[in-house]
Each structure stands twice: as structure tokens, then as C-alpha cells.
Symmetry: C2
Subunit: 760 residues, 2 copies
């Protein structure tokens, strides 16, 4: 595959430059800090004149809208697409010798190697190139996206002429990409791409040359800029070109054989201006930061970056002894997870992070259900920001609830950037009302792990109250169901079953949502937020009652949990008669065909039982796991990690291991053959969950942390750290027993399989 | 309303020309013969420069396609819109005096009157106009669309100068209409209009000037032409203009005060060329016909037309003594029904006939369920053609079944012109699989009433077999349902409930579909068609078995038929809390909101019980009627007639009467405020059914005709004729008793409320 791991599985190395693998590798080599994302493109841009793969520079939350066109429109449909914008690429670095622009495939390339150092967060490249006239050069580059100053991309470019001296021009471009027209795409998983998304205007402010980038309809704006600094070699001239399409700096060196010439570049992409009042401040702050970064220079910024990365790994690393490829895949996943998360309270985690524009840069339920736990237990400050984003779109969610005919509460958009629903297929979009309970679950997980009362008093409570209000209005006590509380006309996580009554997952999640809201509203009734929300006692009682009386479908004859009221009324999909190439089913069968059968795209009932394990006996879990596993295609990348964790829990060790391996290595080995479009961020989060919840059996219950280790036989040891209520414990599992070390804090009680331990 | 009935309720008269009523009246004044349709536009085109209402000239089945754009596409979705084309209007007649073109609103109009004579099928207009310079003229026009030569529209235009003599030019235009750009429309009931649909080319063949009209993507072609003949007054000059946009003839008269000048115009719209091989023949035939019509002239063609219309009314008229407005509305309905039906076996009845482009000129289940019975019992030759159309699209239906993942049989498109599905919203489109059983039901009704063995042996059997095959493959024996045969994931007629399991209507209709197929396949096993279809004995047995074991949902506790498995699991819609302006619900609530509740757009279970009345006891019908009536909004125009008929059957006389009156007068009084867009053809058929099936209680069972009269108190008498197996009986109901007269044939046994009568 042309990729290997080095240095104790902390470096991802590309040893062959293969055109057909480039887009896949460029996804893995993407650098990001949650604000700015830059795919791992070659410095000079495309491999050859025949473009290969997508370039892509993104700012989280910077999107353009376009009207959704429906074959047949109806009331309440999502009105607009939101599509993350492709920004001018700031990584373009190349050179000219004797007026001839470097092009990789017009010469001979030797010893080409790219290395992503996961511990350092730096992408490096080295190669030797011989021009058609025989001139040999060695190129060495480095780049990183700063966590310290999230606006900054830093690049260095060093060239050494091996067999000649003379003028060489090193050129940096901040360049608008020419977008190809993309016609209608039938695969719903790929972004609906829209042509011209932004208007770019060159401007100079103080001594800084900027490109101002404005979206045309969504009303967003940001600025980008670049400064180039020669750091080695004799400079003859520096020439700048500044237009509405690009900001170019060309540095002419008098190069000497075997002596390097080198430039360092600082590229900036500002915060987003969302309303015009903030415009001036955002711009000034951006310019100040760019000046500061410029003053510090590449080297100092790099040192800071290395320190930031070391901090990250000190708490976030997970070590597995006994499988180097897995160790590499695992670190790659954690690295990208960390890169993907918006940290400003106004952005979140896109389905592909900032490594591609698949799913249009949208945020889904994936954040809370697959990725938030990693941050909650290793980086609660980021988890706080992710939940703050949900709080920031609560007003949009209230409006959406009204549009959906629900008189109270809030309904979060199934997919969105700005808070407004932009799913153009409601049966597998808006109908997934469970996102409300998923977000509430995220609040619960965060609060339990951090005991952050301020968060609950200022934001969390609003989310819990408004989602509970929604459920109470949305559902009904149904006489035919023994007057239990029912949620009708919903789609659960399994998108191969749509618009059903009493989806078990949705009902169970909503049950706890209602109960948690009642509990927290009671606990935080002295807060200003409580008053502001106008919560009444009778409301709290009505949530508790609805939660306590939630209907949970169960088939007594089969002794199985029903995925929904009608799941067992359908015939089982003809798996034996379905050829392998007909998967994923959604690309080969009409939705009506799929919906008519018992067939799952992904974990649904099993996920519910994993999240609220206490609601179900182990025997029941085993029966449900066995049944649903048979009818699940795992056509969604969100599925295997869940089945793996449940397999751990019920003691199906082999299955747990195999599901996990498919999960952990999905992007490293391009298992779904679409990593070229971007990472599968949720699956990466699922990997961490599989280790911590699955193999280590971590649970939190009533403020208490416990473990139930079940280490796979193939590994020698597994270790990771957990931050819990301000304390950090390092957990090491081995076949000889487990070790729990308090790394930070003053004391923590944990239990392993029921045996209490006090760590000091 | 500016409309009244004259001459024993056989003429519809417009006494005021009101701009805001014009589009509505022009719909009612539309003339058609099933091939060619011309809206009742004013001769000179629009009322004023500010266009009012739509013009429209259509040829049944002449459509253009355009790709359907989905917000999110998926496998098996309908690919293309099909939209009936607006053709060059051939009715445009106007005049010039002293070089000044007549424009209605630039002078004074007196005594303006338009009359549609329903018995004659002729639209007449008379008015006096005084120009701004004081010149007075009287205009008198007539037009009709011929049944004899379905290509022909015939016009006459007479002008008498009242207070001057001098040159007057009478002008006829065959003119392409300038279409306005129509942006996205939110109301799904209105056509998605597409701009340029056709390419028009002027040509001369022999001595005939033609406009050749070709669609760009659907590959259809036809020709139109016009010939103008001066018939009164002294002609000074005749001038023709022939371009790609129009074919104009201007006749200059030396007009004399108080003496009429007059022209007669024959406009032709040819048959459709569907494949290029047929092109030459179609063109030659068309030209020959046009020559012949031209030779016969307006007067002779008119006489023939009057005779054709008299024939129509002699069998089709329904008389109601005691309510003149109703009599007028009734005749209007029958008149338009007759006009709407395609008679060439390649076309059908569009939802709005040929009176507008609402629903894009598509054919739906409406034909078989609401309109076919009228033709079966009064004009079986037309009924034969309508079913032949379904037979002609059977191959497309087979392909569609494969696309929908069903390995055998055929699935008819929910909405189509050419046989391919073009519903862009599958939950209320393709999911209405019941169209298969509806068409099979049409075959049954036709066959029972006509005993047409040839039809069954050549076409009907293929429809029955392929639909039965579909059901057998589509459905499953489900263990949880006592191993009965179930049809899951369907939408019934009620579009406010979508994608459910075991819709009672669908299951009951499919049950009889399967059984009828088994019976007919057995009866016609010696035919070539049987062999061609490759029917096997085991197949027949499997249809019979599935039909016999069809699951029919029933709620034992409530003693109610369940609309579907889950209908009673939902809360009842909050009708009390729904303001009047929120109807129709589909324009004010998201589908998910509507689907979550017990609420019906239209009759569903009640319709099933009406069609197969023998399956249900009267007491059960009463209970189901009472229940479903409460939850039905009648937001569909297909609903009231059904409830009315069932009300008749169960003896709810008042309800029967009121539902009927709303049905019968819907278009005459513009009840839904959208008759301007075209007639509600199905509802017109529902009117006839209400009288014959409802108030007269007609039933056919095992080749036997029976009646159960229940004449509303408000009427003195009701009479109509029925053709049954080649015999015609005139039925007259009065409060003194019923009369059955054999008008044609040699003997017919009927029964009234069980009492047999033999008519000779």
C-alpha cells in the first residue's frame, strides 16, 4: 500500500509516490486544528496536469448555501444546502530554474518520501528531482497547522542544487483553486458540490496583503494572508503579485551547488465573521496574530507546536503491545480525531473532519455518540466547546420544532453547520428525531465525567429541558399500548428502516432524556437559566411521567427486543440471494425495497443497549446481539465499533476482536475504498470507545468509575489515560492483571469487576 | 359567479366577462375530444396585456421530458419528469380596423356572452365592441373540436360593422405562446413547468403549410396546420405569413355597414409520431384528413359533430328532476369526462383532462377507479381503448418491477404518460403499489360488463397475470401474522399515511387481483397469450393460495377494520385545534407530522369496502364509515364521492346527499378554488358513480346486474342508461318506484333489491 509505520508506530511513511493512491494518502496526511484544515497535497499542487484527487483547504464552519431543489417540494422541507467552502490553497510551493516551472512528472523523481509524524503533528517530505536537462535538486519540506494560533499554517521549503549553481526562484502561492463543474452525483454520501461559492477580493490593510473571502448567500466572511521569509541562501529579488485570484511571492536566489536555499511561509486564515458588527474586530485580531506569528517565526512556532502535541499525546495516547500496525492505525485515528474538533463553541466536528468535503462539512449525531466521549475523558475543554456549539444553535432548533408542528421544545437539525436543517431526504434525515436524545446523552456523559456544574447551569440544562419538552409534545400516551408513552413516525439510527412507530433506540434514549431533564431541572432550579426557561413543576412531573412510562417494544414469543413496533412483521432480507457487489444496499436497491425487509444498515437496538446497559440483562443482550447481527449489513461505518463493544460486553471475544480490527484500521487500509474523500471521523471515535468501553469495560454510574477488563488474547497489553472529575488515571491492562495509576489529582475510587480500589 | 344554466340545464352561459373569473371559466369552456384539447380562451388570446389565466392547447400524450432533480438522489428513483406540452394555439382570431389591432379593453364591450352548449359541444360567443374612435362592431363566434376527425378544431368568426363601412381585416393565427419563466412552486399539485419544450419548424408539404413540432428529449413529433376560408363579405386580399413561430392568415374585406363579414377556419393537430418509422404515414394521413375536412367545410363538419354529440347524450345523459343547478353541473361533468378520454389505445385520461397542465398531463389510478366505470357502462369502446393503453405500457411496468427489486411481474407507474414512473416523491407515488390492483380491477369491471372475451384473451389476461405475479413476489407469508400473506411497506390511497404494512385497501384489492388472475388464467389457458406469458399451474395455484390467505388487518377490540397494521397505534389528529386555514394539511404540515397521526386525506378502507362490498357486513361498513369519516379531511377531491356512495349503501341518506352535492358541483362552483388550473376529472367520474352505484345501488355479480335504489328525498326522479353485455337499459328511479326499459338488446335479467325482473 506504499504506507508503513516507523519509530515505534508513531510515524506514517509513504515510500512510493503512486498517482492512484495520492488522494487516499493526502487524506491521511491532512493537517488540521479544528479551525483550519489542509489536505496533504503535494506542495506544488497536483501530481501532474491530469489532476489527481482533490486538493482542499477548509475553515470549519465556513460554508455557502444554495437552495435545495426537490423533485416535488412539500411543507417544512429543509430549504438550503450548506456546503463547506473550498478556500484558496495556501500550501502551494514550487520553484523555477531558468524560467522553467518545476513539474514533478516532467523530470525524474528519486527517493521520494513523505512522513506524517503523529507525535509531532508535522508533515515532512523529501525527494530528489532531475530535470529533463539533467539538473539535480534535493527538496525538503515541512508543514504544520498550529494549535497555538489556530489561524496559522506554517511551511518551510528547502532546495539544494546538487550539480549546478545559478538563479533559482522559490515561489509561494496563496491561490484560488479552479473548480471543475461537477454534475449530479447519485451517491448520497458524496457532497452535492456547487460551483462558485465565494467572492474573493484582494486588499491591503496596514502592511498586510489580504484576500478577503466572502460567501455570496450565507453572508460569511474571512481573510487569508501569507508572508514569505527567506532563511537560507543569497536573495537577489523578492517579487509579490496580488490579485483577486492569488497572492504570490517569488524569491530569486543566487544558488550555489550543494548549498541549500530555503524559505519559510506563514499562511493565515482568520476567524469567521458571522455578522457585520464583528467584522472590524475579527480583522484586527487576525492581523495582530499574523504579525505575532511572523515575529516568532517558523522555528519558535514549531517548538510550541511540538510542546502542544506532546501535551496531547501525554493524556490521549493509547498503547497496545503486540500489534504494530494496529498501534499505528490507532494513533492515526486519535491524531485525526483531535484535529477534527472545533474548539470555539461555534463549530463542531464534520463527518470527515477537515480532510475533505464529503457530507458537505456537516455535523451529525456522530459527534455526541461516537466522538464526544474521547474528548470528555481526555480533553474536557474541547468537549465543553463541542457541547457549547449545540447550545449556540438551540434557537434554530426551537424554530425547527415549530416547523415540524411540535408546539414546545427544540428539535436539533439532523445535519447542519449553522443550525438549520439541511437534510434533503427527510426519511433518513429529519425523521431521525433521536438526535435530540443523542445530544442530551452527550450532556449527560460530559456532566458525569466532569461534574461541571457551571456548564450545566449555563448551557446543559437548556439542552436537556428543550429536548425533554420536545419529546413530551411529540409523543402520546396510546391506549392500544397500555397507555404507555409512544413515539410514532420516527427513523432510528438504522437507516434501512424508516418512519416507524416506537423505535426502541429512540424510545430508550428519549426515556433517559426525559428523566435526566426532570432530575437536572430539579437540581438546578435555583439558577437563572431555570427561570429563563420558565420551567414549571408540572412540566417536570410530566417529563418524569413520560420517561417512566415510555413504551419499549419487546416480543415475548421470541424473547427479543423489537427494533420497532413492526420490525418482526417483515420478512428477513434474502442475504443468501444478494451478491457481494450489491452492497452497500442503498446503492443497489430502492428505499422501498430495503424498508420492506428486516435488514439493518447499522447497529440500532444494540447501540441502545450499549449506551444504557443497565436497562437490559446480559442474557437479553446476548439474544438481541445474535439476532440483529444476522440482519445487519454494516453498510454504515458507524456499525462495526458498536457490535464490537457489545461483543466484548457479552464475552464474544473473537467477534469483539474482529469487529475492532475492522474499525481501527478502516482508514489506514482504506477498507471502504473512499478514504480518498476524507476520513471517517466517527469511526475513529468508535475505535477509542471500543478500547475504553469495550475492552477495558469502563462504565460511569452515579459518579463512580469502574472497569471490567477483557483484553483480547492477541495483545500483550493495553494502556490509556482517563480524566475523571479533574483527576487523571493511567490504566494498563495485561493478561497478568490491571494497573491503575493516579497521574494527577488527590484521590480516586474506581472498581474493577466490582472490587473497589482507592488510588492516591 | 357570472355563470348560469339555460335551455333545460343544457347550456352553460357566462353573462359577465370578469377578468378574475376568466381562467376558471376558460377551464369549464374547454373543448376536447380525447386527442386535442383547447381551453376556452377568448379568440383574441388574453383579456388584456396583463395576461389573465393560462391559455392552453394540448394533444393527449404529447409530452417533453426533463431530468428530475432530487435534493438527495437514490437508487431506483424516477429519472425524468414528463410534462404535457403547450402547443401553438390555433384559436387565435382577431381583426384590424384602419390598421389598429382589436384589443378588448381598449374599447367598450357590450352584451358580452359566452355559451357552452353541452348538448351540441359547441362554444359560442357574442358581443358588441365600440372602439375608442366610436366604431361599433358585433362579433359572433363558434368553435368545436371534432369527434369525427379528432385532429380538427373548427372555428367561425363573424363581424358586422354597425355604424361604418370600410376595410376590415380578419386575422387567424396559429401561434406559439410565449411562456413565462416559472420558478419553483411549492404546491405539489401544480405542474413543474419547464421552459422551452418544443422545437417548431415551418414547412410546406404539397399545398399545405405546416408547423412541425418536435420535442427535444422525448423524441415525439406532430404537425399542425390551419386553413382559412372567407364565407361572407367582399374579400380584397388574403395574406399568409409562415414562420417558425406562427402560421398567420389575414383576410382583408371591404365591409359594408350592417352586413356581416365572416371566415371559417380549420385547424389540425396530427397524431403523434412516436418512432421515426411511422413518421411518413402519420404525416400523409394527417394531410389527407385535413384536405377532407377542408372539403367538407365548417357546416358539414358541424352537422356531423351535432350528430356525434346527440349519440353521446342518448346513452350518457343522466337526468335529475327537481334541481336545475345540479342537472347543469352533472351534464358539465359528463361532458368533460367524455372529452377527456384518449381513444387511440396509446393515451389515457389526464388528471385534468386536456383542460390544463396541472399534474403535467399525467395518468393516475383515477382512470380505473373513478372514470372507467362511466365508459364501461355507456361507451365500452372507449373503455376498451383506455385499458388497451395500460396493456401498451406493460413492458415498462415489467422493467419497473425489476428496478423495484421484484423478480417477477409488472408494476405500473403511479403517474406517467409514456409508461415510465415519473413520481418524484415515492412515499406518495411509487409506494402506492395498489395501482396494480386498481388496473386489474378495471379489467374486471370491463370484462364483467361487456363479456368481451377477445379483450381478455388478447390483453386483459396479460395485465391480470403480470400484476398477480408482482403481488406474489412482492408479498410474504409472515409467521407473526399466522402465516398469512402480507404486503409490507406500501402506501394506500390515503396519502396522509405512508409506507405502512398491510394497508387494508391494498391487501383486499391484491387479494381479488390474485384470485381473478388465477380464475382467468385457468379459463383462458388455451389462448396464445397464456402460452406467451408462460404461466404454469403451480404459479396459478400460488396466486390462488396467496389471494385466499391474504392478511386483512382487523381490530377485534374496537370491532373496526384497521386501515393498516399500525393505524390505531397512532394518536388521532387534533382536529379541534386545527384552524380552517390550515387545510389542506399537506400545504401546512410536514409529511412527518401528518404521518404521525390518525388522519386521512381521502377514503381508503371505505373505498375498499365499496369496491368489494361482499367482503364486509353492512354493520361493519357502518362502524368503519363512522370511524374513518371522523378522521378524514377530504383534502383530496377523490374522497367525497366515495364517502357519499358508502353513505347511500348504509342508509345515511342526508350524508349521501351532501357528499354527492359537493362532488357534483365541485367544478361548476369552483369549490376547491383551483378549477382555473383545469377540471377535476376523477371527481366528475365519481359523480356518475355516485348516482349509479350510490343512489341507484347498481351492482354486478357473477354476470348479473342488480339495483338497490335509494333516491334522495329532494329529487323527484333520476334516470340514466346502462349498457350491459351489449344491451342497453334505461333506468328511471322515482319515489313511486323504479322503471327499467330495455332500449337495445333482446333480453336482460336484472334484480331490484333481490326481486328479479326480465326485460324484453
Amino acid at each position: 500500500m506504499g504506507l508503513k509505520g516507523l519509530k515505534n508506530a508513531s510515524q506514517l511513511v509513504e515510500t512510493n509516490l503512486e498517482q492512484e493512491k495520492l488522494a487516499f494518502h493526502n487524506t491521511l496526511f491532512s493537517l488540521s486544528n479544528g479551525h483550519l484544515g489542509v489536505r496533504g497535497n503535494l506542495e506544488e499542487g497536483y501530481f501532474s496536469k491530469n489532476h489527481t484527487g482533490i486538493m482542499g483547504t477548509y475553515v470549519n464552519g465556513f460554508y455557502e448555501t444554495s437552495p435545495i431543489v426537490y423533485g416535488e417540494n412539500a411543507y417544512g422541507y429543509a430549504k438550503n444546502h450548506q456546503t463547506i467552502c473550498k478556500l484558496p490553497n495556501g500550501h502551494i510551493l514550487t520553484f523555477e530554474i531558468e524560467g522553467e516551472r518545476f513539474q514533478l512528472d516532467l523530470g525524474t523523481v528519486d527517493n521520494h518520501q513523505r512522513t506524517l509524524d503523529l507525535f509531532e503533528g508535522i508533515l515532512k517530505r523529501e525527494f530528489q528531482w532531475t530535470s529533463s536537462t539533467g539538473k539535480k535538486v534535493v527538496i525538503s519540506t515541512e508543514r504544520f497547522v498550529s494549535y497555538q494560533v489556530s489561524e496559522a499554517l506554517l511551511l518551510s521549503y528547502e532546495l539544494t542544487p546538487l550539480n549546478f549553481s545559478g538563479e533559482i526562484v522559490l515561489i509561494h502561492d496563496l491561490l484560488e483553486e479552479e473548480l471543475e463543474t461537477v454534475t449530479a452525483i447519485d451517491d448520497p454520501r458524496i457532497a452535492a458540490r456547487h460551483e462558485k461559492q465565494t467572492k474573493i477580493e484582494a486588499m491591503k490593510e496596514a502592511d498586510l496583503e489580504l484576500l478577503q473571502i466572502s460567501t455570496i448567500r450565507s453572508g460569511l466572511r474571512l481573510w487569508t494572508t501569507a508572508t514569505v521569509k527567506p532563511v537560507a541562501g543569497e536573495v537577489l529579488a523578492v517579487k509579490g503579485t496580488h490579485s483577486n485570484q492569488k497572492l504570490e511571492t517569488a524569491v530569486t536566489f543566487a544558488a550555489v551547488e550543494n548549498e541549500p536555499i530555503k524559505i519559510e511561509v506563514i499562511v493565515g486564515y482568520s476567524e469567521i465573521v458571522r455578522d457585520s458588527e464583528a467584522e472590524k474586530n475579527v480583522k484586527i485580531t487576525f492581523m495582530q496574530k499574523m504579525h505575532q506569528v511572523s515575529k516568532q517565526g517558523f522555528k519558535q512556532m514549531k517548538n510550541q507546536h511540538l510542546a502542544d502535541m506532546a501535551d496531547f499525546w501525554s493524556i490521549s495516547d493509547v498503547e497496545i503491545a503486540g500489534d504494530d500496525e494496529l498501534q499505528l492505525g490507532l494513533r492515526l485515528n486519535l491524531f485525526h480525531l483531535n484535529q477534527a474538533a472545533g474548539r470555539d463553541g461555534k463549530t463542531n466536528i464534520a463527518a470527515k473532519g477537515l480532510t475533505g468535503d464529503g457530507y458537505e462539512g456537516h455535523y451529525f449525531w456522530d459527534t455526541e455518540m461516537y466522538m464526544l466521549p474521547f474528548f470528555v475523558y481526555t480533553n474536557p475543554a474541547t468537549a465543553y466547546q463541542l457541547l457549547s456549539y449545540r447550545h449556540s444553535i438551540l434557537e434554530s432548533a426551537r424554530k425547527r420544532a415549530r416547523e415540524m408542528g411540535v408546539a414546545k421544545g427544540a428539535l436539533f437539525a439532523w445535519r447542519t453547520i449553522n443550525g438549520e436543517e439541511c437534510s434533503a431526504y427527510y426519511p433518513a434525515g429529519t425523521a431521525q428525531f433521536h438526535i435530540n436524545a443523542d445530544i442530551a446523552y452527550g450532556v449527560k456523559v460530559y456532566y458525569e465525567a466532569t461534574a461541571d456544574e457551571t456548564f450545566m447551569a449555563e448551557k446543559g440544562l437548556a439542552i436537556l429541558v428543550e429536548t425533554a419538552r420536545f419529546w413530551r409534545e411529540f409523543g402520546d400516551y396510546i391506549s392500544g399500548k397500555e397507555d404507555q408513552f409512544c413515539l410514532n413516525g420516527v427513523t432510528g439510527p438504522d437507516e434501512y428502516t424508516a418512519i416507524v412507530n416506537n423505535n426502541y433506540y429512540t424510545n430508550l434514549m428519549a426515556k433517559y432524556n426525559l428523566q435526566m431533564a426532570a432530575k437536572m431541572a430539579t437540581r438546578f432550579q435555583a439558577t437563572a437559566l431555570f427561570k429563563e426557561l420558565g420551567v414549571t413543576d408540572s412540566e417536570i412531573a410530566s417529563w418524569q411521567e413520560a420517561g417512566d412510562n415510555m413504551y419499549l417494544p419487546y416480543d415475548e414469543d421470541r424473547q427479543l427486543t423489537k427494533q420497532d413496533d413492526s420490525f418482526f412483521d417483515k420478512a428477513v432480507w434474502d442475504f443468501a440471494g444478494t451478491p457481494k457487489e450489491n452492497y452497500p444496499l442503498l446503492l443497489n436497491y430502492h428505499p422501498l425495497t430495503i424498508y420492506r425487509y428486516q435488514v439493518n444498515k447499522q447497529a440500532d437496538t444494540v447501540l441502545a443497549q450499549l449506551l444504557y446497559g443497565e436497562a437490559t440483562s446480559k442474557e437479553q443482550k446476548q439474544r438481541d446481539f445474535d439476532y440483529y447481527e444476522q440482519v445487519t449489513t454494516h453498510d454504515s461505518s458507524l456499525s462495526r465499533s458498536i457490535f464490537g463493544m457489545m461483543a466484548s460486553e457479552i464475552g464474544e471475544e473473537d467477534k469483539a476482536y474482529h469487529y475492532f480490527m475492522d474499525t481501527a484500521l478502516m482508514d489506514l487500509v482504506d477498507m471502504q475504498e473512499n478514504t480518498a474523500d476524507g476520513i471517517h471521523a466517527a469511526n475513529m471515535g468508535g475505535t477509542w470507545m471500543s478500547l475504553v468501553y469495550g475492552f477495558a469495560g469502563m462504565k460511569v454510574s452515579e459518579g463512580h468509575l469502574s472497569f471490567a477488563p477483557r483484553l483480547p488474547k492477541k495483545w500483550d497489553a493495553l494502556s490509556f489515560s482517563i480524566e475523571f472529575q479533574g483527576q487523571i488515571v493511567k490504566v494498563t491492562l495485561s493478561h497478568d492483571g490491571s494497573k491503575y495509576e493516579l497521574v494527577k489529582g488527590t484521590g480516586l475510587t474506581i472498581s474493577e469487576n466490582g472490587h473497589l480500589q482507592k488510588l492516591i
